[in-house]
Symmetry: C2
Subunit: 374 residues, 2 copies
């Protein structure tokens, strides 16, 4: 049985269930390496969310529309329904219901089914009722996913490499007088060419004092100018896993205020390299970094980092009050940043694997000590 | 009361309910002009889907994460919960549940609530139970949305304009020797610059005989070559509404086989202009177009068109067997195409408003009679 499958079943057992039913794009990708398109929202050809049912024997069964039937790398059987085709013109919810019931009739998931409260549809819970109890396991699932398997770490390394291709394209892509969206176009292309396909890309691309001081946001038609700080926070999804990253540079010229802000953020980055290890809590890791930034007169109102995997933000979050312990096998984004309305913002972010005695940097790009001129 | 609100309540009443609860990104956008990002999948900062509750008095209430609290143009009140913030570290499903219950306690939706079977979570139905019955109304909602209100038609006109900016960028963007993704980058940018923001973009960008013969697909790292047919099917979402469109050209040189295929598809387009009017069924509209393509020895295994609005594909679909009548106020994409494995594919698509006595073309770009050289 695959390690991820064992993780899912262990999480199900923690709520008294023998089976697990996943119903979100990221958890279905986690369970079955079933990676569907997400860039245009839920498919209009879906009668309900794609489902992955994991049995106590480790077998994985999928309910999905006909277009996705061949997507699962790890599923043992897909129960699909007519969607883009038109051989069945009944309401799509009826077609989905038939595929779901076919899956349940074939598998007979008795002994309790763990579901995701955040997304499991009422019609799915209703269809499960004849087989026994259902129990939500969102929290247990989040926690079990935080320890990555060896193949997951390889997948995240690949994401980190393609993310680095994006970061390394920033200097050529950014030109004073162009719109942020024009630079974003070229940065995104560098990652898409490296992957050979369109990629969902999360993150931020903000330029200038006012926008960078607000931490993040999508690129707009704002025209970039000499002296502008540029926060490029790039997070592509590649084969179902996410990369993430951030660097900050200045166009043509670095002001003294921004030079100081970058130097302080680089000091925080050095503290990350000195302190990131297993056995420290998220709270205790975050606290001195946050204090360093606030003591210097800057703000940092967001998390200092987060897990990453088939979701771009996973448990644990590196925030005040979070008592989760960092453990070997976690892959964490760490992103110290400093922000000030009169200066702008700087953020530096890499991907880290927590090892038995410290960490390994998975992001193959440099974090420069001096604020780079781009 | 807004026409869309009245439409939603009428659909709810058709299943015996006084209230309606929407839970998909496109239906929440329809109800409340609440347009959330969709490009990176469901937000990791959501404890459940954003909800729009429409009351019999026409008031609209939203449950959403704190980042979306200001998004709704038309909602009367948003009930939000801590998401990206970290002042509340309880499980996000608990925070979502609190916001949902606050909305229900304030509104007391008695008299029946219509829900969407395809996406309404079990936890939401459970929270509704104390107030009375729930009933699915997916089919009724799909049908009521098909007749667009005057503001919706204006929104779709804007989408059609921005889509045309994309189509008009194709000729400059496509260069033999470049990857499809490189052309896509420039076409996408033309639409994003016109909108001033990142846009979700659905559709197809396929080049060469083999790929165009398969109707569609996303752009890849395939290098384009002289003589290649190019199908550019562009569908951006702008302010919550979708555009769609398709043209087909050839790089540098048009073969005789492709010239004939385009001429036949243009004949089909002319038949669309001659026959698209209210009072004809989707089946009867589709049939002669489909026959014309098949009789010429080509295939067309997809729909001849579809509704469009806050979803890129809406009811009715223009397919064999669909008895829905075309009615004034519908906005339809019509997309005759011809495909052959030995030749490639050609598709031509514009956006049409069904009027009282015929139709109006909403797409402000030309459909050339001769296959264009690009």
């Amino acid at each position: 049985m695959d390690d991820r499958t064992a993780n899912i079943l262990r999480a199900a057992q923690s709520v008294g269930a023998s089976w697990a039913l996943l119903s979100a794009p990221d958890t279905v990708a986690y369970a079955a390496r079933h990676v569907a398109g997400i860039e245009t929202g839920p498919s209009p050809f879906d009668g309900g969310p794609t489902l992955a049912l994991v049995g106590p024997d480790g077998q994985i069964h999928i309910t999905c529309n006909e277009l996705e039937a061949g997507l699962s790398s790890d599923a043992n059987r897909a129960y699909s329904y007519v969607s883009l085709g038109f051989s069945d013109l009944r309401p799509i919810t009826a077609r989905y219901g038939d595929a779901l019931r076919a899956m349940l009739d074939a598998t007979k998931p008795t002994g309790g089914v763990a579901i995701e409260a955040r997304c499991c549809p009422a019609v799915v819970v209703e269809a499960l009722m004849p087989f026994g109890a259902v129990a939500p396991f969102d929290v247990a699932l989040d926690r079990t996913r935080s320890i990555k398997t060896a193949p997951e770490i390889e997948a995240l390394r690949q994401c980190a490499r393609i993310t680095a291709d994006g970061q390394n394209a920033v200097a050529d892509a950014v030109r004073a007088g162009d719109a942020e969206l024009t630079a974003w176009r070229d940065i995104r292309l560098a990652m898409e060419i490296a992957a050979g396909t369109r990629l969902p890309v999360a993150g931020d691309f903000v330029t200038g004092r006012a926008r960078t001081a607000l931490i993040g946001g999508p690129p707009t038609d704002r025209l970039m100018a000499r002296g502008d700080p540029v926060i490029s926070d790039l997070a592509p999804r590649v084969n179902g896993y996410w990369g993430d990253s951030c660097r900050t540079g200045c166009i043509g010229h670095v002001s003294e205020d921004l030079r100081k802000m970058h130097a302080l953020t680089h000091d925080a980055y050095q503290m990350v390299r000195d302190t990131l290890r297993p056995g420290i809590s998220a709270h205790d890791f975050d606290a001195p970094l946050r204090a360093m930034i606030l003591d210097a007169g800057y703000s940092n109102s967001i998390h200092m980092g987060h897990g990453i995997g088939t979701s771009v933000h996973e448990w644990p979050r590196l925030v005040p009050g979070e008592q989760a312990m960092l453990r070997p096998g976690m892959v964490l984004m760490v992103e110290p940043g400093a922000y000030h309305p009169d200066v702008g913002g700087v953020r530096l972010e890499q991907m880290f694997l927590i090892t038995e005695d410290g960490h390994e940097v998975l992001s193959p790009f440099e974090i420069p000590q001096e604020m780079p001129v781009i």
